[in-house]
Symmetry: C2
Subunit: 152 residues, 2 copies
DNA sequence: TTCACTTATATGTATATGCATATATTGAAC
DNA sequence: GTTCAATATATGCATATACATATAAGTGAA
């Protein structure tokens, strides 16, 4: 009986998936709290930055660089469009393709949100130590690569 | 102009929230793929383990230990109930409280899923190195604590 | 005992996310 | 040029998640 408990405790404590998801939840909520005055969710902010970075980008390209499913991009971009932060137009050469670009309103929003992002990012990095944070990013990258390798 | 690009590249590369969410997505998909034959999502499996570990537990307690909102627990437990993996009964002493417990079917499912969880967990740990994995868990815990501290 | 306060759960609403699949369009082979 | 495979996007469906709020039930003070 106690054996079962030990097994379960082990899973509860060590599950890589659960631990990462939990960390993501907690950090997301911290960002969300700060970003709230802007009306942007942190995921939306991040997607908007990615869009702005590319001036014009298609749904599928955006999915590739953000590592998100195309259908997720389609829907999340729609939300940004509803708020007026992005334009969606048909590509001139290929009418299947949508061209996503940031609007002026979107740019203003980005400017508004940037210092807030810096604030919370600083808090997180300082909270755990900048050196540790660098290592964390490195570790996450390795993790990702090792999984991709495994899938291939 | 290039300045803007640098700013954006910095955010894209270093955002703690985005990086953690991305890692969580990738790892989740790796687990999901393996767990698929069981019909359990990894989140459901993890919640089921938590329920099994406690024999009888309320919605809110489960939320506390899993660091999930009570409303999320309510809904996710409902899904487990639909599959017949858990019982939901009224507490005898306090009729507000629900008592969640695992069913026999749920236990069988757990047994079925456990070795698969071990497999994928091993793959992930070995992929990045067991030592690195321990450090990652430690880091995530520190991150969580530093955020909680900050909120308080 | 009753009323106010607290606690436990549920519901409405919204976003994030992915898989399976449908639809539209392009491009290449014939 | 017509047909077929590949590509780009959208939609249906399901889960995960949280916040605001509603509802129900216990609890303590007046």
């Amino acid at each position: 009986m106690n054996n079962k408990h030990n097994e379960m405790d082990y899973i509860i404590q060590f599950c890589a998936c659960a631990n990462l998801r939990k960390a993501a939840r907690i950090v997301t909520q911290a960002y969300e709290k700060q970003m709230q005055p802007t009306g942007l969710k942190v995921t939306q902010y991040y997607m908007l930055v990615n869009i702005a970075r590319h001036k014009e980008i298609s749904i599928s390209k955006l999915g590739e660089i953000m590592l998100l499913d195309q259908t997720t991009i389609t829907r999340n971009v729609d939300i940004l469009k509803k708020s007026g932060y992005v334009n969606i137009t048909k590509d001139k050469n290929d009418s299947r393709t949508k061209s996503i670009s940031i609007t002026d309103i979107g740019l203003v929003k980005l400017e508004e949100a940037a210092p807030i992002w810096v604030q919370i990012q600083e808090k997180v990095e300082n909270g755990m130590g900048k050196e540790n944070y660098k290592e964390l990013l490195e570790t996450l990258k390795n993790l990702q690569e090792s999984i991709e390798l495994n899938e291939a």
